[in-house]
Amino acid sequence: MNGKLGDGIENDIVQEGDIYVDTVINTTTKSDAQQKSALYRAVWRWHFYAGIIVAPFLIILAVTGSIYLFKPQIEQVLYQDLFEVMPQGEKIPASQQIEEVKKLYPDAVITKYRPGENATRSSEVSLTVNDQSLTVFIDPYTGKSIGKLKSDDRVMDKIEEFHGELMIGTIGDRIVELAACWTIVLMVTGIYLWIPRKKLIMSGVLYMRWNKGRSILARDLHVVPAFWITAGMLFLVMTGLPWSGFWGTQFQTIATNSGAGYPPSVWVGNAPVSTVTKEIAEVPWAAETLDVPVSEVQGFIPLSIDDVVQIANREGVHPSYTVFLPKEPTGVYTLSAFPPKAEDEITMHIDQFSGAVLTDYRFDHYGFIGQVVALGITLHKGTQFGLINQLASLLICLGIILVAVSGFYLWLKRKPKKSMGAPKSTSIKNMKLFLVVLIGLGILFPLVGLSLIVIILMDVLLIKRIPFLKRFLHV
């Protein structure tokens, strides 16, 4: 015992056992100290197991996140030939650009049109053909295709898929969400373990001890950076959770229902419908003669995409918008722009027959929670403040990797051959406060709650009954 702070961990790393109890604090009564140390060990035990399970996911999230942060720069390099065009004269109407794509892909269904946010940006026509979706890049000045990109070939989309759902769909989404929620448990338990137990000495707490030997260095490499990045890590978890599939959807629904969230259809909820349906012109199908009554052929026909572009300009929609084309007679044209800064966001629905603006939802029209979430998302993605934002987020990601790896190393160092090397479990009586915190988190994050139930069941049904497991897990 060298009288430094956070000794509990240190000692248990160096020597297994209950040294902490013996050396702790002579000023308190024995039973008090025992109870405190029991709580300490319980918290540590949770931190230990949660850390081992969550660390690999945290590393995956931090690595993929670090790459995805730089999506704008990476795509600019990867797709420069597809993105950039030489401005010359007037742009060709959107409808003609789409006609060109229809000529190239006669069987395709056009799904989206993106005009390009400035004079040197190509326009994009997205389509699905043979169950594959791809984007054709058009030079808006010549109206000719300058290349295509299959959605499956977009590297950054793969990274995003890895980051959000480990590339295995819904199950992956839930795993990521679970890992994110458990990261909060790790942070809460970690801070408890970090709080200096004795005098207020800052070495090994706020700054590193570089020359006190390898064990201390390893311990400090975990504890000190962890403290410094905790706020950032919590920020990334909390801003990432709203777009998770389970907790996020629930959260967004509750927020939208309260009037304080995103307006409907921006995140959850459906778009409004085009209202004219009875008076739509029908299409005769037989050749040579008009095989349907004239009155059926007379009626409203859908707006042309050129009108939609004109409406977008009239209403001052952010130039980076994409038009989603209607899929059915009741569908609408949806203009959607999610540019780098949250303040510029817009989701607008336009009646496909009348051209009426049915809803016009911009950042200013979001409820308070919606605005906070929107800002959180652009900060999480590193776009809100540009390069500074990206670098700050990168630093947090690198910190997360360091903390996960050093934590893992601390475990390997203390792990005996025949067991996990976990701190001994204590009676539930010693960890009432901690239990309340855990249950609280379990209610706030139902997936954590669900996993807690699974842990309790496994403990009661399996671990307590099998001597090998009991020994291995140090129950």
């Binding site: 799904t111 307006p263 299409v283 005769p284 009155s295 409203f300 709650g449």
Partner: protein, 153 residues
């Protein structure tokens, strides 16, 4: 303790899952104009026909529009579109009497605005007999049936 916990979780799973139907009323709402076009079932060339539009907003007839215009052209002659100013027949109803010189496929685009709500619905009109090329045009112009659109983000 465990039971309370379980009930709380099940409650969370079941509750709060769906969006209220009228949730849009909690956010900014537009007042879109709505147009209904009234045409005779059969229109012949060289015969005067009434073309009327009924404009409503929020389910009520619009008392006074800011502007309303009929833009008309023949299918194969979009360059020679004409713009006509309809007259107010009664509250919310505007119309013209129009004589089409030739048979064929026509379009009427109604531009109307009221308090910043602007619409431009376009109506397809058959006058007399359609030519072969017009029929072919109608048949080729099959509206796309689309699927598989993934939303933003």
């Amino acid at each position: 303790m465990k039971k309370v916990f379980l009930i709380a979780i099940i409650g969370l799973f079941l509750g709060g899952c769906s969006l209220k139907e009228d949730v849009a009323e909690l956010y900014l709402q537009e007042q879109p104009l709505h147009a209904e076009v009234v045409l005779p079932e059969i229109i012949k060339s060289e015969e005067q026909v009434p073309i009327n539009v009924i404009l409503t907003q929020d389910g009520k007839k619009v008392e006074e529009v800011d502007s309303v215009e009929f833009e008309m052209w023949k299918h194969d002659d979009a360059l020679h579109a004409t713009i006509e100013q309809p007259e107010k027949c009664e509250e919310g109803i505007y119309g013209i009497n129009k004589t089409f010189d030739r048979d064929g496929l026509y379009y009427i685009k109604i531009h109307a605005s009221k308090d910043g709500a602007i619409i431009m619905p376009q109506v397809q009109v058959v006058v007399g007999e359609l030519s072969k090329s017009e029929l072919e045009f109608l048949q080729n112009d099959v509206p796309e049936k689309e699927e598989g659109h993934d939303h933003h983000h």
